[in-house]
Each structure stands twice: as C-alpha cells, then as structure tokens.
C-alpha cells in the first residue's frame, strides 16, 4: 500500500498532464482540428493576399473579359459575313474563304471559295479586316482568283488621307509596297495613312491600304515612299468581296 501511495505522490501530476493532453488531442481529432485551422489563419493573416493584390486580380479579370468581348465581336462579324448577312459595311458584300495561294512564284494571287454562283464578277474588289486586298481577275462557278495589291503588276491610285497628296502604289511582292508621287515635293511623312484615291478607276475611293513606313524623297525622277500594307495578306483566311463595286477590266497604267 505504501508503495502505491508513494508512486501516486510522485507521479500524479504527470498522470494528469498525460490524461489532459490525450483528451485534448482526442478532442481535436473529433472536431476535425477546426481550432488549429483557425489559429493557422490568425497567424498567417499578415501573409495573406492583401487588397491591392485583390484589385490586381480584378483588373486582370476585367481585361480578360474585355478581350473575350472583342474576340466574340470579330467572330460574330466574320460569321455574319459567312452566312451572307451583309449588314457589315455595304449592302452587296459576301464573305469568302481563302482556299489557295498562287500556283507559281511570280504572281501574287489567292484563290477564294466563292464564284459566279454567288454573284462574283471579274473586277470585284476584295477586302479583309484592315483594308484592301486585291481584285478578282478570274471566276469559275465556285472559285475566284484574286490579283493581290502586293503583285508588282497591280497599280493603284492612292491618296495620303492627311494631306491629299496623290500617287501610284505598286506592289513589291512582299508585305510592303512603294508609292510614286505625282508632285515634286509631296506633303507626306512616315505614319501617314494611305487610302485609295478618287481617281482610281479600279477601286472605290477611300479604302484603307496601309501607312507610310519610310520616305525616299531624294529620288531623282519622282519622290517615293515605302508603305506597310494594312492587311497581313499571307495570313488572311477570310476576306470580303464587294459585289457591287464592279470595276473596269483593264489595268491602270502608270501616269493615268
């Protein structure tokens, strides 16, 4: 008996602590360690994402939604053109897919998947988002061939939209083209926007073509400028054909 009494006298405190800790541990286990999580939250509060970071997230989300709206708008426009709902710019326009590129290395042409069955005629003007692409030179029942404005044989009368200086735009077989101005000292600077001129017999006036990239006014005979074309013609997949903008069949020769 004395032995048990001495053991209790020495270890009762330890026993109590052991029981307490075990019961607390059991309690925690039963409550799913809810209190620990609450404590964790309190401790980690200074390190949690603060208000400015939240604002940043909201801004990013807004931006993302804006981009989605833009994308859907353009898709909607393209699909409308596809279906033939031509409420886009002019009453007589149809959308057409680009189904082929030039069949040799000299002519800058594309082949479209709409032809005379859809009302396309030779001379119809072809545009893409951004501006002018070219004009139809041959049609079959369901395809049409387009001579691009990047082809060196295609010459277009153009106007600088800011200063109304006029010139002739000639393709350079790439993404660029050159303008030869009529005047000796045209009012032009880099960045100016180029549109088709009212004197052009092949294209309706006022279609965007590109913008001036560099000037070469020291050219001996005629001042020249290099133009960045507005439409990345190599990557275009869908174009719009203006059916009513029918034009004459002959090409404009230089100086007219």
């Amino acid at each position: 008996m004395y032995f048990l009494y001495r053991w209790w006298d020495r270890y009762w405190a330890l026993m109590a602590v052991a029981l307490l800790s075990l019961s607390v541990a059991w309690l925690i286990r039963q409550t799913g360690s809810a209190s620990l999580l609450e404590i964790y939250r309190l401790i980690s509060l200074p390190f949690q994402p603060n208000l400015t970071q939240q604002q940043e997230l909201i801004d990013a989300r807004t931006w993302e939604l804006q981009q989605q709206v833009m994308e859907l708008k353009t898709q909607n426009q393209q699909l409308r053109g596809l279906v033939g709902q031509t409420a886009i710019a002019q009453s007589q326009a149809i959308g057409a897919p680009v189904i082929g590129h030039s069949a040799d290395h000299w002519w800058q042409q594309i082949t479209l998947g709409r032809g005379s069955r859809s009302g396309v005629k030779i001379g119809a003007v072809v545009v893409a988002p951004g501006g002018l692409v070219g004009r139809v030179t041959q049609v079959t029942d369901h395809t049409s061939r387009v001579l691009l404005i990047t082809d060196p044989t295609s010459r277009i009368g153009v106007t600088i939209s800011r200063s109304r200086a006029m010139g002739i735009l000639r393709g350079e077989t790439g993404k660029q083209a050159t303008i030869e101005f009529f005047e000796k000292d045209p009012n032009v600077r880099s960045g100016d926007v180029i549109v088709t001129s009212t004197l052009s017999s092949l294209f309706p006036a006022g279609l965007a073509v590109g913008r001036i990239q560099a000037l070469n006014l020291t050219q001996t005979s005629t001042p020249q400028a290099i133009v960045d074309l507005a439409v990345p013609i190599g990557n275009v997949e869908w174009v719009t054909i203006y059916l009513d903008a029918k034009t004459s069949k002959s090409m404009v020769s230089a100086g007219t």
């Binding site: 590129h101 040799d104 290395h105 060196p152 077989t173 020769s253």
Partner: protein
C-alpha cells in the same frame, strides 16, 4: 484482291498506266495552290509540276521530256496568268534532264534526282525572269511588265527557296512514279 500485273491484258495495262500518270499530274497541279506547314519557305511552295517533269524525263528521251514540259507548262499557265508562259522553262527542264549523263551520278538515287531538281528549279525560274524582263522592255505598261530591278531581286529570292523546297519534296513525287514505271517495265518485258 487484284490480279498480279503480269496477268493483265496489254490493253488494260496501258489504260492503267495512263490513268496513274494522268492522276499524278492532276495531284501535282492541285498541290500547287496549297501551302501546308512545312511546305513553304517565305510564302513559296515547291514547284510540283517541275518535280513531275524531272521524274518523267529521267529515263526518257529528250523529245518526250519536252512534250511533257510543254503540256504541264500549259496547265500551270492556266493556274496563273497566260503570259509569260511556263512552257518554255518546263520544256527546257525536260530536255536537259533527259540529256543528262546520269551514269556519272549515283545510280538510281534520290540524291541525284534531288540535285537535278535543284538545278532545274533555278533554270526554270531564270527562264521566267528573262521572259518578264523582255516583256517589260518590249511592252512596258502591260499586264506582265514590272520594273527590271524588281524582277531580278525577286528572282534571287525565289529561285533559291524554290530549288531547296522542290528538291526536298522531290522524292514524294519521284518515288511512287518510279516504282510504278519500273514494275510496268518488268511486266511488259
């Protein structure tokens, strides 16, 4: 299953040969406006008709090569513009390919055909460039006229890419046609 070729009647064999030959030309023509990823270099594709003319002329006479060149040149004219014509260049390609002393090269090798296509592509592009230059000298202001500097700059850029691409893709056309024509020869002997 199909009967082995040796059991076909000569007439049917001839008809089959023509069908295969013509359909290969049609396929090559339809591949011209196509630009698949890996099949273009600076927006230029292989000159499939040129590859076909080389494959045809490698084991044939100069006259046969010339006729094939003219025929396929006419087709390519129809696919682009009528003037300047592609017939001259392709006919020249057919003649030169048929005349080449191929014994000097490795016998029956894709490398030698690829080399021939490489050289021929440059020749064909040069013929086109010369025609454009003549056109701009003789009849300035017409459809085919371009500035001389533009023509030869463009020639430099395209001739090399065209030659590289066409020679790399040459086996695609050459190998099946070669196999077919060899089999036909064996059964006819």
């Amino acid at each position: 299953m199909l009967k082995p070729l040796s059991q076909w009647s000569p007439l049917a064999l001839e008809a089959l040969n023509w069908a295969i030959t013509v359909s290969s030309v049609v396929l090559c023509t339809l591949a011209l406006p196509l630009r698949l990823p890996g099949m273009e270099l600076t927006e230029i594709g292989p000159n499939w008709l040129l590859v076909w003319v080389v494959a045809w002329s490698v084991k044939r006479s100069a006259l046969q090569g010339a006729v094939a060149g003219v025929a396929l040149g006419l087709i390519q004219d129809g696919m682009t513009e009528l003037y300047p014509t592609h017939t001259i260049g392709l006919a020249l390609v057919g003649i030169i390919t048929a005349r080449l002393q191929k014994q000097r090269f490795v016998e029956e090798d894709f490398i030698s055909v690829a080399l021939i296509v490489f050289g021929m592509a440059i020749i064909a592009e040069t013929v086109m460039a010369i025609q454009f230059s003549l056109g701009s000298l003789v009849a300035p202001g017409t459809m085919a006229s371009r500035p001389l500097s533009n023509i030869w700059l463009h020639h430099q850029q395209t001739a090399l890419s065209s030659a590289i691409l066409s020679s790399l893709w040459a086996p695609v056309v050459y190998y099946p046609l070669k196999r077919w024509w060899e089999q036909l020869e064996q059964t006819q002997v």
